[in-house]
């Protein structure tokens, strides 16, 4: 399953990447599992697992880590927002 993964703000800087096309292995069907799989890829990826109050959006709507994944989804990981 191919998805697009985005990172913002401090998380983008810590990972050194803003966007990535990812081919997700079968069996990873939720956002939380995707995060764990990405975080297991060695340095600097563990930062994704240890990020405090990690927020997730799927297709530009904020969701919980139990949200389902679908092929073609745009998944964004980011710290709590601080605009306004």
């Amino acid at each position: 399953m191919k998805v697009k993964v985005l990172f913002f703000a401090g998380l983008r800087e810590a990972l050194g990447v803003a966007a990535e096309a990812v081919d997700v292995p079968a069996g990873i069907v939720q956002v939380g599992a995707l995060r764990d799989w990405l975080a297991a890829r060695g340095e600097p990826w563990p930062a994704l697992a240890t990020a405090k109050n990690l927020r997730v959006a799927v297709n530009q709507h904020m969701v919980g880590l139990d949200a389902p994944l679908n092929s073609g989804d745009e998944i964004a990981f980011f710290p709590p927002v601080t605009g306004g």
């Binding site: 703000a9 109050n53 959006a57 530009q60 709590p80 927002v81 605009g83 306004g84």
Partner: protein
Amino acid sequence: MQDGFSVSVQEADFDAGAEIARLVAGREDIGATASFIGYVRADKVHAAAAEKVVAMTLEHYPGMTEQALTDIVEAAQGRWPLVAVRVIHRVGRLEPGAQIVFVAVAAAHRGEAFAACEFIMDYLKTRAPFWKKEETPAGGHWVEARESDDQATARWAGR
């Protein structure tokens, strides 16, 4: 969104007076507008020079930001009878004193104008994908989210 309701994400500055005037132009059913402007602060007044904010860079999630702001405005419309709403959020590098965000709500009565304006700001602070990076003489750092902002959003859930 419905006529009279709009959101913008932009680098350009805005003219709050002109925006409010546009909301009420030609209407005779608006009794009240409540408006909010947020500004870049140089931060703690008594901070050492090295801690003073020289600039603030606003990053956002293009595409999601407009959608998130639209969702927030529509949630406000679902709660109160509103005539018009305008939301503007700037992105890019801004110096102390600069305007960051603008929310104006027009309604028949003041109660709903105030409530909706504050509701939109509270949700924007915790649900709209913007991030601030502060630049000081000592370096740059990402602003931490404040727990008080989550509490401000949460208090609307019970109402």
